[in-house]
């Protein structure tokens, strides 16, 4: 089907997931760091709502759940594809990937997917523990739509990371471009504060852009703020656009790489 080597992809994803899983010390540290950050965020938002029951039309519960769910997605969906691929490009390791019988973006996608799933296996239980401790609960109206939206969010994040990593062929220092990308995706994507807190004009402009689909849309489905299928379809359309753009950028850059022998 579509010529995608599913067996190979599954093997790669499983391999990279196991790599993440073997780093036991790192896994504990990341989970503890995540829980501490969530704990502090909870109190920060509680303080914000201490003297007012609603802000930007949201109650404390809906706002804090939005931020906590978004932070959780942020903890396992982005898996550093940009840095990893950029390092492979800089070190020349990429050459060994190009001679494999699998396209570069697909191979990277499988590796990233494995990492994200492995991270989810220890972040999600920590999240469940957190919700239980603070007596919070998620109320998705349709679980399949929520899951589909999370998957599409992963695709969007992967594509933007992949394109940014290709800049490794051009720029000598990648910090600037990755930091700009992270700031844009997190801030405009609704990972730091709910988009309802943005001024009306800004929200109107953002409605025509893909950023909201990185975090705001999946969080909306998970929290039951969104019921309709329409935002998911728009998210899927953006994801398709991003995939085509990433594939095109990959082809152009690799062709240059082969021609110039960089």
């Amino acid at each position: 089907m579509l010529g995608i080597p599913f067996k190979g992809c599954a093997a790669l994803a499983w391999g990279s997931a196991r790599l993440v899983a073997t780093d036991r010390k790192g896994r504990w540290l990341v989970t503890i760091g995540y829980l501490i950050a969530m704990w502090l965020l909870y109190y920060l938002w509680a303080a914000l709502y201490a003297d007012t029951p609603t802000r930007a039309g949201m109650t404390f519960n809906s706002a804090v759940l939005h931020v906590l769910v978004a932070q959780t997605l942020l903890a396992f969906l982005p898996v550093g594809t940009d840095w990893r691929l950029a390092r492979e490009i800089r070190s020349g390791e990429i050459a060994t990937q190009l001679i494999l019988p699998m396209s570069l973006p697909l191979r990277q996608f499988a590796i990233s997917l494995g990492r994200a799933l492995a991270k989810a296996t220890y972040i999600l239980p920590a999240f469940a523990l957190f919700l239980w401790y603070f007596d919070l609960s998620l109320t998705p109206k349709t679980i399949p739509l929520a899951l589909a939206s999370i998957a599409l969010s992963f695709v969007l994040l992967f594509c933007i990371d992949f394109v940014v990593a290709l800049a490794g062929f051009i720029a000598t220092d990648l910090w600037g471009i990755t930091a700009s990308k992270d700031a844009l995706v997190m801030f405009l994507g609704g990972a730091l504060i709910p988009m309802a807190f943005f001024p009306a004009g800004m929200r109107e402009v953002l409605a025509y852009l893909p950023f909201g689909h990185f975090f705001n849309t999946p969080v909306g489905y998970i929290n039951g703020e969104i019921v309709s299928v329409q935002p998911l379809l728009i998210q899927a359309a953006w994801a398709l656009g991003f995939v085509l753009a990433a594939a095109w950028a990959g082809r152009v850059v690799l062709r240059k790489l082969i021609v110039f022998g960089a």
């Binding site: 995540y34 502090l40 920060l44 303080a47 003297d51 720029a171 600037g176 930091a179 504060i193 807190f197």
Partner: protein, 263 residues
């Protein structure tokens, strides 16, 4: 006055690095874009979060923006002078770190000799702009003592933040990969830009022990909330000295361990 050999070497390295960085104009532009995007999104998050009321538990928008700006200002020195610290793990893995043993100076100074990045000036400018924006119209801006306190506390806080970040990275002497530690301490550092009295007692105690309270909270108590400036300066000076001493000890142990780890 004749500079000591290390500082002469440092001056040469700074000149040369600044030239090399500015030669790659695209890189430099991207770097400024990165600094601007990161700082703008952080400030805008805070601005929008506070909404129409503009306060959080008795802290005003201006004060909170000043605190964010103060954090940028104290991050600027390490962004410029200790940019090389993010390479520590790589140097340890490749063995390039051995040069730290064969150069005639303290290894923590030698780390500064590795790299200089002019982006620190951009971070400082943005930080100062935020501080000014936060306090615009406040009577504090017309008090000479405020400026004196700012100038005295800024380098001390910068030292404390540098020690915390470098100590987190230096755990790679022991555990190989310091990324998870750095990401954990980064999350705590992020939150220490907010007034610590928003958080539960346990969190405040953690912030004081680490001692992240020495980055923004204690200095801002003196600068914004009338805590005794001389006492704060003295306390911060003592804290900075202790922190640097501990970091130096950590490096000496780390370097002994590293040298003894291979064949």
């Amino acid at each position: 006055m004749q500079l000591s050999p290390f500082w002469r070497a440092y001056r040469r390295m700074v000149g040369s690095e600044a030239r090399a960085r500015l030669e790659h104009r695209a890189d430099f532009a991207l770097m400024i874009l990165g600094v601007a995007a990161t700082s703008l999104s952080t400030a805008a998050t805070l601005y929008f979060m506070l909404g129409a009321t503009g306060t959080i538990a008795g802290w005003h928008r201006g004060e909170l923006i000043f605190m964010q700006g103060f954090m940028f200002c104290i991050f600027a020195p390490q962004s410029a002078c200790y940019n090389g610290m993010f390479w520590l793990e790589h140097w340890l893995k490749t063995g390039a770190f051995l040069r730290f043993y064969t150069r005639p100076a303290n290894p923590l100074l030698l780390l500064a000799l590795e790299r200089f990045h002019p982006q620190g000036f951009v971070v400082l400018a943005i930080g100062l702009a935020y501080c000014l924006f936060g306090l615009w119209g406040s009577p504090l801006l017309s008090e000479p003592l405020f400026y004196l306190g700012f100038v005295l506390l800024l380098p001390l806080s910068a030292l404390v933040l540098w020690v915390i970040n470098l100590a987190a990275i230096s755990t790679c002497f022991w555990i190989g990969e310091s990324d998870p530690v750095f990401s954990m301490s980064g999350k705590l550092t992020d939150m220490s830009r907010y007034p610590l009295d928003l958080f539960p007692k346990l969190a405040t105690m953690i912030f004081m022990a680490l001692p992240l309270a020495g980055t923004v909270w204690w200095p801002c108590q003196a600068l914004l909330r009338g805590a005794s400036l001389p006492l704060t300066v003295l306390g911060m000076a003592a804290l900075a000295v202790i922190c640097v001493g501990l970091l130096n000890g950590m490096w000496q142990r780390g370097m002994r361990r590293y040298a003894g780890a291979g064949g």
